[in-house]
């Protein structure tokens, strides 16, 4: 739990070219700690809880990936109108 506070301060220092990636990685680490320990995911006897959370994150990643396949490839294939 002291580690949580530490990461909060770390994220204020680590700012280089990769600042967004580093910041997001730290955020993900913090989120994982909160999920596992504060939210008791680690001690949860009912395994379906983890399945539900995984399903949520999975659907959100579909949202992100499919949106990006559109925006990142616009103009690449020379679609009509460009």
């Amino acid at each position: 739990m002291a580690l949580m506070v530490l990461t909060a301060f770390l994220s204020t220092i680590n700012l280089g070219d990769w600042s967004t990636v580093v910041a997001l990685a730290i955020a993900a680490a913090k989120a994982l700690l909160v999920l596992l320990f504060f939210m008791h995911l680690r001690y949860e006897s009912y395994k379906i809880t983890a399945v539900v959370l995984f399903a949520g994150i999975f659907w959100m990643s579909i949202l992100f990936v499919l949106s990006l396949t559109d925006y990142l490839t616009r103009g690449v294939t020379g679609a009509p109108g460009h």
Partner: protein, 226 residues
């Protein structure tokens, strides 16, 4: 003559559950299901952030430079600490120590109040700076070119919607935890029956989680603090 804890356990077991453990697991699962719908809800907003940042990186950096770095950082620390007090209160509830539960939750609610006050100061600064999008917009965008001029308003639009919705969640969490603290003061919770504390705690942790991602995405884009 049943012991007092048995009476409480029988009293707090709803008739459609076989036993206390099943009731506890069901309520936890129900809360997680709700939190997953919340993930979807905020996920859509994060996706819109991602797309517009890809299209207008310059405008997002411009917007991020106008964030109050230290206020955001202090708020992050406040929320992380409040998550800790909630986790401790859930632990106290499992031991049936109602008074400690109430004290920890009141500290949590006060930290939530502090978070909202700092957020309010930030909103006030944005208002003075003229960064409310639309009619009230009067920021100096002379450093930006082309599409980025209007996209800077887009950044602040996304900023206000995301932090505003998050602040609403903080407020709801504070109301929820206040009720739990009140019931704890009346001695409602026992080692057998403490689902409300656990489930409300899950909600507060979720609010913390959203902020954990909002903070780097909104406050830490600009490089000037390096």
């Amino acid at each position: 003559m049943p012991s007092s804890t048995e009476v409480v356990a029988q009293h707090s077991l709803q008739h459609h559950f076989a036993n206390m453990e099943q009731q506890r697991e069901s309520s936890t699962l129900g809360m997680w299901l709700f939190l997953v719908t919340e993930i979807m809800f905020f996920g859509g907003l994060f996706a819109s952030y991602l797309v517009y940042r890809l299209l207008h990186p310059g405008a997002f950096e411009f917007g991020s430079e106008h964030m109050e770095f230290w206020l955001g950082t202090i708020n992050t620390v406040i929320l992380l600490c409040s998550s800790l007090t909630v986790a401790l209160s859930v632990h106290a509830a499992q031991l049936g120590r109602n008074k400690i539960v109430a004290i920890l939750l009141i500290i949590t609610v006060l930290m939530g109040l502090g978070f909202l006050c700092i957020k309010g100061v930030e909103y006030h600064n944005h208002w003075v700076e003229g960064s409310f999008p639309g009619h009230w917009w009067h920021m100096d965008t002379s450093t930006l070119r082309g599409d980025d001029v209007s996209a800077a308003q887009l950044f602040f639009f996304i900023y206000f919607v995301m932090t505003g919705l998050h602040a609403l969640h903080v407020f709801i969490g504070m109301v929820l935890l206040s009720f739990i603290a009140y019931f704890a003061l009346k001695g409602h919770y026992t080692a057998e029956y403490h689902n409300p504390v656990h489930v409300s705690g899950l909600y507060w942790h979720f609010v913390d989680l959203v902020w954990i991602f909002l903070y780097p995405l909104l406050y830490l884009i600009a490089h000037k603090h390096a």
